[in-house]
Amino acid sequence: MDITFKNVSYTYQPNTPFEHNALKNVSFHIPSGSFIAIIGHTGSGKSTLIQHLNGLLTPTKGEVKIGNYTLSSEKKLREMKELRSKVGVVFQYPEHQLFEETVEKDIAFGPENFGVPTSTIKKRIEEIMPKVGLSNDFLSRSPFELSGGQMRRVAIAGVLATNPSIYVLDEPTAGLDPKGQKEMMDMFYQMHQEEEITTILVTHSMEDALKYADYIIILNQGEKYMEGKPEEVFLRESDIQKVHLQVPESIQFLKKYNEKFGTQLPLTRQSTKEIAAQISRTL
């Protein structure tokens, strides 16, 4: 499903002294099947933006289109539940949403709400558990006796179980150990690639944005500040530093290396390993 934002503005608590414009006239287009990273400093409007993607917020001004569903201030969307079944949102610290007695019941909670038959849910759970890196022994345990990382995996499984066609990931790896972070991101990336699921990732990690995203949108104080392919966006170092963001270390390194040794190594989305290989070839 394509996603289009057209001149979207959102105001919290309008007409009070606490009025706050969280989004200002934001427009962009996300084609179906792409992997988008949304980055920005704290308070730049990222969380507000993603809440528009499944109708938790409706724009104060402007229009949001997700596939055939339109969200605007004028008309209330009738098929809200349908939209929510197609957009799977993984919020920050999703383990806070667990409440059922067993892991299995909690994962089944979403699909049950969307009216998926029990037999299908069972099948889906069996498929998902290995994907999120949990064994089936967990299914009968209480989610509250698991470790933080395991709880996170259960919560993510609960979102995946609804079989969405869009993933919205709000810092899904925050608070995990480095290994867990990489596993989690690789899992989402794999699902995105295999099933062509449109993925929107909100992140503070420029490295992740560079590594996974086809396209980057940078927000600053509620406005769209920059957008483009990661290898293009990250070249504009001074612009990026202006909004208190950092260019990924690999690109910084490559730039400095080129300056110092007068080489012309190209800036693509290569990993540290690939950079090392390229350099060793020039030596």
């Binding site: 608590q13 007409n15 009070t16 002294p17 809440q51 499944n54 938790l56 539940k81 929510r84 079944s85 957009v87 799977g88 949102v89 919020f91 999703p94 806070h96 949403q97 667990l98 409440f99 909670f109 979403g110 049950e112 709400n113 969307f114 509250f144 609960g158 979102v159 609804t162």
Partner: protein, 265 residues
């Protein structure tokens, strides 16, 4: 969610009212609430209304905002007005609709009671609008201090109050976050039969309680780690001190009260 609720919402400012000692404000409000019931004629109500309006203006809080905050109690005000309109049978009959007689006494009584309501609510909401919850708790602790002699746990009470006040916004945020997460998983809090909506509360309440207990535990640990042992010998960062402006406001208030007693019939 709670956009129209202003009771308990603090609006930062630098007006004279904001800068008063919270104890002054609480004591004045306390006596004001009693004094409102002394008013019994046009002149005395006029005096009180003027007093309230001047106080509101001097806080520099937008009037629109204060009036909006009255929305939850409008119903109550209108209800009392109607009650008096229909039930008070005093004075000459004003008009008659469908053989129900409306008396002048009823209209006046209804208006007076509604006005009294407004006067009370406006003034008391000004207290929380111009005073931070922490200031209010400090003031209550200080005002209740004499009760310590009869072994009343003043400090503990104040601490409990400030902790609960401190965590109201946190819990509200948490509720908002969890309800959004569950709404994304297909829970419908707004529509559907009552039974279903009651059931929808469970996925909200369980995580909320879990996190509240966790938070309480963490807070207790953090307090102990910083050497908290209760009120004995504990000093304060913000000492409350009465200043000249407090005296000034007190005298002003006493003048208003004296005038009120003079003009009431």
């Amino acid at each position: 969610m709670s956009n129209s609720m202003i009771i308990g919402q603090y609006v930062p400012g630098t007006s004279l009212i904001h800068k008063l000692d919270p104890r002054t404000k609480i004591v004045i409000i306390f006596f004001y609430v009693i004094v409102v019931f002394f008013a019994n004629n046009v002149l005395s109500y006029g005096l009180l209304t003027t007093f309230v309006i001047i106080t509101i203006i001097s806080t520099f809080i937008p009037l629109r905002f204060i009036i909006k905050g009255l929305t939850p109690v409008w119903f109550l005000i209108i209800f009392t007005f109607l009650l008096h309109l229909f039930l008070t049978k005093e004075g000459p009959v004003l008009f008659e609709i469908l053989s129900i007689k409306f008396h002048l006494g009823g209209v006046i009584q209804g208006l007076v009671i509604s006005l009294r309501f407004c006067l009370l609510i406006l003034m008391t909401s000004l207290l929380t609008l111009t005073t931070t919850p922490i200031e209010i708790t400090d003031a209550i602790e200080s005002l209740l201090h004499p009760l310590k002699k009869v072994k009343f746990p003043v400090h503990e009470l104040a601490l409990m109050m400030s902790i609960s006040l401190r965590f109201i916004p946190t819990l509200m945020q948490e509720t908002d976050k969890i309800s959004k997460a569950q709404a994304s998983r297909g829970v419908d809090f707004r529509t559907g039969p009552l039974k279903e909506r009651m059931k929808a509360i469970i996925p909200l309440l369980v995580p909320l309680f879990v996190s509240a207990f966790k938070r309480a535990e963490e807070l207790a640990m953090a307090m102990e780690a910083r050497g908290y042992q209760g009120g004995e010998g504990r000093t304060k960062l913000r000492e409350l001190t009465y200043r000249k402006k407090d005296l000034f406001i007190f005298i002003l208030f006493i003048c208003v009260v004296a005038l009120l007693i003079y003009v009431r019939s």
